[in-house]
């Protein structure tokens, strides 16, 4: 503290960090993401009727109450009514605990299915079991005989009538919390990435393998799509990897 410039800079930096952290805790986002999407502007050329991907779940991410760390494929409707009114149906895995991280290893890890038309038709199903660490499972949402269906490794998890126009496919890792969302971590570390492979969707009676996705990240979540290509014969070798930059 003998150098006044250094001490001033140090204090200013510290204050900036503290204020920044405080701002995130008080008014920060509640849902943050790393992943990609494909979206059609309207239904003139058809609708999205199936999404699929395999997800490798690496070592379990830290979570705290109330927060959740998710990974999923999703079918969405239109964004034209506002971002917070986007209808969706998804299937995935989630880690959410009643305490910080897990009570025991694997506690709070489960599969889930969720439908929300944003007009009163919210319905969520969650299992008592979930993916083991470093295992890969297949997640699918599809339309059949008037209903959305969801499966994990072919096992049924949920169903709900199709009541919204389906225009997009999304593949994301997500953090959720109404408090400080960044106390939770994305699945995947710098040395053990989460992996989404066999990504595909079914639109207007055509299957698109490893479709072009608009990728985005909040900055904390990281992704690598250098091995993602629709031309690969073995689509299990076409993948996007994810991890948390803090882990």
């Amino acid at each position: 503290m003998k150098d006044p410039k250094l001490s001033t800079a140090f204090l200013a930096g510290l204050l900036s960090i503290l204020l920044g952290t405080s701002a995130i805790a008080a008014t920060g986002p509640t849902n943050v993401y790393t992943g990609g999407y494909a979206q059609y502007p309207d239904s003139s050329s058809g609708q999205m009727t199936s999404v699929y991907c395999d997800i490798k779940t690496p070592s379990y991410p830290d979570t705290f109450y109330p927060s959740a760390s998710n990974g999923w494929p999703m079918i969405v409707g239109t964004y034209s009514n506002g971002a917070d009114k986007v209808p969706y149906v998804q299937v995935g895995w989630v880690k959410a605990n009643g305490v910080f991280s897990g009570e025991t290893n694997g506690e709070g890890v489960r599969y889930f299915w969720e439908h929300n038309d944003r007009k009163g038709h919210f319905y969520r199903v969650f299992s008592a079991v979930g993916p083991a660490e470093n295992t890969t499972h297949g997640y699918r949402v599809y339309y059949e005989a008037g209903d959305w269906k969801g499966t994990v490794d072919g096992g049924k998890i949920g169903s709900y009538p199709k009541i919204f126009t389906s225009l997009g496919a999304q593949y994301y890792e997500e953090l959720v919390s109404q408090e400080d969302v960044y106390r939770a971590a994305y699945a995947g570390t710098s040395t053990n990435h989460a992996r989404f492979s066999n990504i595909r969707y079914f639109f207007n009676n055509t299957t698109y393998y490893s479709p072009t996705l608009n990728m985005s990240s909040d900055g904390v979540g990281k992704y690598d799509q250098s091995n993602y290509s629709s031309t690969k014969t073995d689509q299990s070798q076409s993948y996007i990897e994810f991890w948390d930059s803090r882990r």
Partner: protein, 168 residues
């Protein structure tokens, strides 16, 4: 004698009429009983129907008690049950052909569930945790909705927490 005969006649009519009334009341009770056979629940049966879930009236008492069901629900689903301001329990037969992701423990302890692979008139407790404030998932760029209730389904014969659902 005439007075006695008249008394007997009046008494007989009264008894016969009373019996008829009792019989009618019994019929009414039967009707009421049939109505009681319909599922009494706080849940939105229409919403459950959308999710291919059906509730029916159990034909025999549960093997485990409600207290055990609540404890097991909390233990298996800590996040989904924490900070509930109210807990209610209902005992039903549940049918849901659209859910198959049961634990090995759940299948091993209930042969009927293992055979059917889904809940088919399965005796269960629905333990409802209310007064919650929990955010849902949402599409990228969007924001989750706040939900206030999670329901945990517990096998009423084995006590194993099977799955959960939320719709409000």
């Amino acid at each position: 004698m005439k007075k006695t005969s008249l008394f007997i006649a009046v008494a007989s009519v009264a008894l016969f009429g009373g019996a008829l009334l009792i019989n009618n009341s019994s019929n009414n009770l039967n009707t009421a009983s049939a109505q009681v056979e319909n599922v009494k629940t706080q849940h939105d049966l229409e919403k459950l129907k959308f999710a291919k879930t059906k509730l029916d009236v159990p034909t025999k008492p549960a093997i485990i008690d409600e207290k055990t069901a609540i404890e097991n629900a909390k233990k298996a689903f800590s996040y989904f049950t924490k900070d509930a301001k109210e807990v209610t329990v209902e005992y039903h037969l549940m049918t849901n052909p659209e859910f198959e992701l049961f634990s090995e423990e759940a299948l091993a302890k209930n042969p009927k569930l293992k055979e059917k692979k889904h809940m088919d008139q399965l005796p269960v407790y629905i333990v409802s945790f209310k007064g919650l404030s929990q955010l849902t998932s949402a599409p990228a760029g969007s924001k989750g909705d706040m939900i206030t209730e999670n329901n945990i389904v517990v096998d009423a014969e084995t006590g194993v927490a099977l799955m959960g659902f939320s719709y409000r």
